[in-house]
Amino acid sequence: MIRLRKQEMFSLDEIIDPIDFDAAAPDFVEADDVTAIDDITREVEIISDFQTPYLELIRLLRESAEIEHALMVQYLYAAFSVRETYAGIVGPAVGHGDGLLPIAIQEMEHLHDVCNMLATLGVAPNLVSQAFPFDADIYPFALNLERLSLHSLAKYVFTEAAAESITPQPGEEDPFLTLLMEQLGEQEPNHLGSVYARIIELAEQVQSSPPFQLPDLTTHITNLRHIKSQGEDAHFKFFKSLFLGEHLGFNGNNQVWKLSPDDMAYPSLPVQTNPTAYEGDPNQIPDPDSRSIAMLGNLHYWIILALLDLSYRHSNQGYLGIAIGNHMTGPLMSLGKILAARGVGLPFDPSNLGSSAGKDEATNRKMIRLISLEAKKLTEDLSTVLGTDEADQQVFMLQDTIDSLSI
């Protein structure tokens, strides 16, 4: 949990002018550039659980991993919901460029960087997945798995914005901010930037005064700065362009968000919000075939998390290669689109097993094989629903995973 303490602010005049020294400090908040870590101007303070920099650093890295993970699946879900006509706003599944998929992949890369840093610090990765809606503490709204819409984009804009980007300037009318406020109401800026600023601060403290021998953290600190700036710049600009209907992928129609959500020209499909493949849950996917396909999607998702976990714990890129080659770039993408076309969505349900239920590497490998076998059986059972070509492709990849982990 991330708890925030709003700091009392002192204007420079208050500090310099001794006549006013005893006056009560004004209680006002100014837009803050959190890259300038400054005791005088800091707007919020992350309340520490630990006083030992190393422990607090681990704690906040684990928190940020959960946030990046949730953002990643949220953006993936939104990307899957986009109609084919607007494929230009989805983009290719690469880590750079312009689109929802590149943004989702960049969040994955942020998660990757954070987990790698945790590994360098000598601790386990954090690949905990959340149930949605997910209350991330640092945002004034929950994160949801939902179709792309003006309202969801307003939240994404807010999520990625630096404070000054969405703070009205006195006396100035900004149509973008007016529209944003209409969707979200008055909100204080999000504080993910503050979290990363604090993480960087702590990392530098640990680097200069480690509690025990640690590898050099310089590259990781550089990566953290990049994560922080990427969100507040490239991601914000991208989501703003979608929010305003200005992105080229809308094919010149900047009025798309004025269409009825039921309109066939509306940018996204009417997919279920926060679906689950867990039968009996109030949000369960109602159609049995769709629910089974969604469970297949879950199995691939859990296989990916387990492979990533092995990769970070044991510094073995081979596991990552299996996750990417056999699951991320094939079945997960296909199933996400198949489920969206069926009006539901890939639920990314959390599993009680987590990403590392086994007590050692060998047991975890066996468990991934068993999950893969289960997924393979389910795929074969669903071959009529999925189509033979799709089922064949997924069975092949699952078998490759099984074979790779049998060695």
Binding site: P92, G321, T329
Partner: protein, 210 residues
Amino acid sequence: MTYTRQKGIEFWFEYDNVFLLAVPLDVRQAYAALGDFIDKPRNQLRLRRFQGTFPQSFINDMMPLRDGLLFLAERQLQIIDAHFPGSDSDVQSAFEDFGQGVLWDNRPPRVIRGIPIHMMDGAAATMVGYHRWNGFIRAVILLGGDEARWLTINRFVALACAIQTKLNPGQGNPNNRPIQSAELQVLRDKWLVMSTDDLDREFGRLPVIP
């Protein structure tokens, strides 16, 4: 033409902009027409080889994408030929530098995005871009592209992948170590003589074994 690192930078600058970072309208339209194609050649190539139905089934898989794939292939060749006309050795050098992560470029958009070095995204197992490229080239060859030309390029792609896998250069590191001559020759001797079948087999692994 005598290759220089600056020529390599200029080549990759244009290449990255056209296909990734500042995509012009014609390429954007080709991407839109192709839809979600980026992993399809690679994934189908693996499947059809495993099933033993390659090449005909793979050709059937790729036929709906033919026009778009051949268009993109032609655009790639245009850029290569504009920068290194008639010189495969220069193209090879450009790929070798790419794999080493020694092509630092201060210009936007790369530097603004925090990716100043012209190299494949990722490291080892996450460098799926080279594998996708192999799948793409395979499809282009079987759909009517110049087999000899594209085999040469595919070997360069594989060599760059092997170099980058071996050296693991850091994006944003201006001091990535260049490959030693002896190391490079070992990799050249291995990768520049491979057949298309050999390359498909090697790219079946992620990461590749340099």
